[in-house]
Amino acid sequence: MFSGKVFGALAGAAIVALSATGAAAQAKDKIKVGFIYVGPVGDHGWSYQHDQGRKAIEKALGDKVSTTFVESVPEADSERAIEQLARTGHDLIFTTSFGFMEPTIKVAKKYPNIKFEHATGFKRAPNLSTYAAKFHEGRYIIGQIAGKMTKTNTIGYVGAFPIPEVIAGINAFFLGAQSVNPNVKIKVVWANTWYDPAKEGDAAKALLDQGVDMLAQHTDSPAPIQAAEARGKFGFGQASDMERFAPKAQLTAIVDNWSDYYVARAKAVLDGSWKSEDTWGGLAAHMVVMSPYKNMPDDVKKMAEETEAAIKSGKLNPFKCPVVGQDGKEIECKGSGALSDEQVLGMNFYVKGIEDKIPQ
């Protein structure tokens, strides 16, 4: 659930040095793949999308693979569930929330011959990879759409927690909106939860009451976009395509697509080519997918498609330099022509024009 990920300054210290396992690449005929989910598979958001990835493995690899999942695993008590998967003959184990980081490291040390994959974390080992997605690329696109379509020039944003990934998402969203509408303003409400339809819905209503006519969300339930639908306003789906919850309000959705990655990693274990890696893919890698652009005028749709293509081809980076902070000072540009990955992954500032403060 903690879809946030950091390495940067931490990388050196954090990559846990394990004795080389010497597990020479070995092809296998049939493998077992296990998943640990933080929420119920039916959340229609974060865990649901990971489960779609699990099903994609079964579909792609047929009888060469069998899969298992354990759902609603509390982060503070997850070590046992992870170890259970390791002990029951699973060859590849995905732990799909930031809070599973320490337990995954501990279990990975104990079982050097099993491959582990931890979503959104920053600690790796010879048998433990990390992976996450550049959702902020999609957020730049929906920012442009919202900036173009807003009539009140005020956009609402329901955030989960002020962690770097969410902050980077707000910045990318606002930079997108600003690029097409210099007068746009943004209001942020923190729900302090990843999944709590009641709280998320209340946050959305509070924003709508303040005259917001476009609603973006970085929480996992369809409640915010449903609130937009009920008031005849617009919103964007999160994690999965939420069109069926808000057929009139959803302009597009930023869909987490783990399927391609999961299938590729399972194949790598089958043919013995699996290596410990850090993967951070975006629109180009198909880890982030925009659901069909709907309920918008043709010119807005065309603009969104062009932006999507530009980001995919690498022509456009949402954090291209210069990026100006809230205080009007330019942020040091550590990447080539754009902020570096480390700067984005550890983002802890708002860009200029956001009249709000990050809760500390």
């Binding site: 940067g8 300054a9 298992t68 509390p74 503070a76 046992r80 029951t88 002020p162």
Partner: protein, 358 residues
């Protein structure tokens, strides 16, 4: 026509034990039926839920780890419940104990403070939980406020305090805004009982709490006072027992043990503070206390049984692809059966046809 409950005067100890066994068998039969309707083998389910965990040394260790906080909290709750005082807020006392104990761990982090850190942390955990437990007790004795409401609502206050601390002042400064504290130093970590195992000293504390409680309840005047206050409050008053002092004492004991469970879990199992440090142990412990019939040994057994349903539930998801909801339903069925069996032993059910009332 209606049912009437009349108390039995001759319910023997043997009958009560037999009723417990019957309750367990009934619960397993009901669960087996559900599993059979779902098209799976109830025999295989019983094997995965119960037999495998009990025949595997690793699973037995995990059982103890999981049972430890529940046993500690439930033992504390038994003091309150025996005196007919309803402390529903053990979850909050657990959190505050963990917070106060962790304060020292974070304060001494990175210094070479010695061996005294850990005992001091445990002590702070107990003090924190006890003080937090005393709030509803004070409100009850001073103003007559219902302790069920205050203790329950203070749970949310405690959780929000923890939330604030790990997102704010106690956040790991090198953690890029992620809501968690630094990982505790070895001096602030509760060591495993066996080399490289996961069972930490919290389990030992739980056993000590059980033994001490058995003596206190069975052999001391205080134990007698509790029972009397619970069963016959008027008689207790005539005997000169102060209900105010009893209320304060049991809430302090109960909160203190919940606090000890909290700091043991954080220093032993988790190793750092996080926004969530308990999957509801404080509430599950209420079930455990009643499953164990408020008897110390019974509670120890009940905590292991409930831990077994958690671990068996995970195995069932992995090996039989049975949903998590089934595990939670089974816990409910088990409690209902035990309480029903208890009622049937204590009371006789009679169907009367006399037109009662209107």
């Amino acid at each position: 026509m209606r049912f009437e409950l009349t108390p039995r005067t001759n319910a023997s100890v043997g009958m009560r034990v037999l009723a417990s066994v019957a309750a367990f068998i009934t619960a397993f039969l009901i669960a087996g039926l559900v599993i059979w309707i779902m098209g799976r083998s109830p025999v295989a389910a019983f094997d995965v839920y119960v037999l495998q965990p009990l025949s595997d040394p690793w699973a037995i260790q995990e059982l103890i780890v999981k049972a430890t906080p529940m046993a500690l909290i439930a033992i504390g709750l038994s003091y309150c419940f025996r005196a007919n005082l309803w402390n529903i807020g053990a979850e909050g006392q657990y959190v505050i104990g963990a917070v106060l104990g962790s304060w020292l761990a974070l304060k001494t982090h990175g210094t070479d403070a010695g061996f005294w850190v850990l005992p001091a942390m445990l002590l702070l955990g107990i003090v924190g939980g006890a003080l937090y437990g005393l709030i509803p007790a004070f409100l009850k004795t001073r103003f007559g406020v219902n302790e069920i409401l205050t203790s329950l609502m203070l749970v949310y206050v405690a959780q929000l305090v923890l939330d604030y601390l790990v997102r704010g002042p106690w956040r790991d400064p090198k953690g890029f805004n992620f809501p968690q504290s630094v990982t505790f130093d070895p001096a602030a970590t509760l060591p495993p009982v066996f080399e490289a195992g996961r069972v930490h000293y919290g389990a030992v504390f739980a056993v000590i709490a059980v033994l001490v409680t058995a003596v206190v309840l069975g052999r001391t005047l205080f134990g007698y006072r509790l029972k009397l206050t619970g069963d016959a409050p008027r008689a207790a008053r005539f005997a000169g027992f102060s209900s105010r002092a009893t209320t304060m004492a049991v809430f302090a004991i109960s909160g203190g043990l919940a606090g000890l469970a909290g700091i043991s879990e954080v220093a032993g199992q988790i190793g750092q503070l996080q926004p969530s440090i308990s999957p509801g142990y404080g509430f599950t412990a209420i079930t455990v206390a009643f499953l164990g019939r408020l008897n110390p040994i019974g509670i120890l057994i009940a905590s292991l049984v409930v831990a077994l349903t958690f671990i068996g539930g995970e195995s069932a998801q992995i090996l039989l692809k049975l949903p998590l909801d089934l595990t939670q339903a089974f816990q409910g069925i088990l409690l209902m059966c035990v309480l029903a069996a208890d009622a049937l032993v204590s009371y006789r059910i009679r169907l009367t046809t006399r037109g009662g009332g209107k």
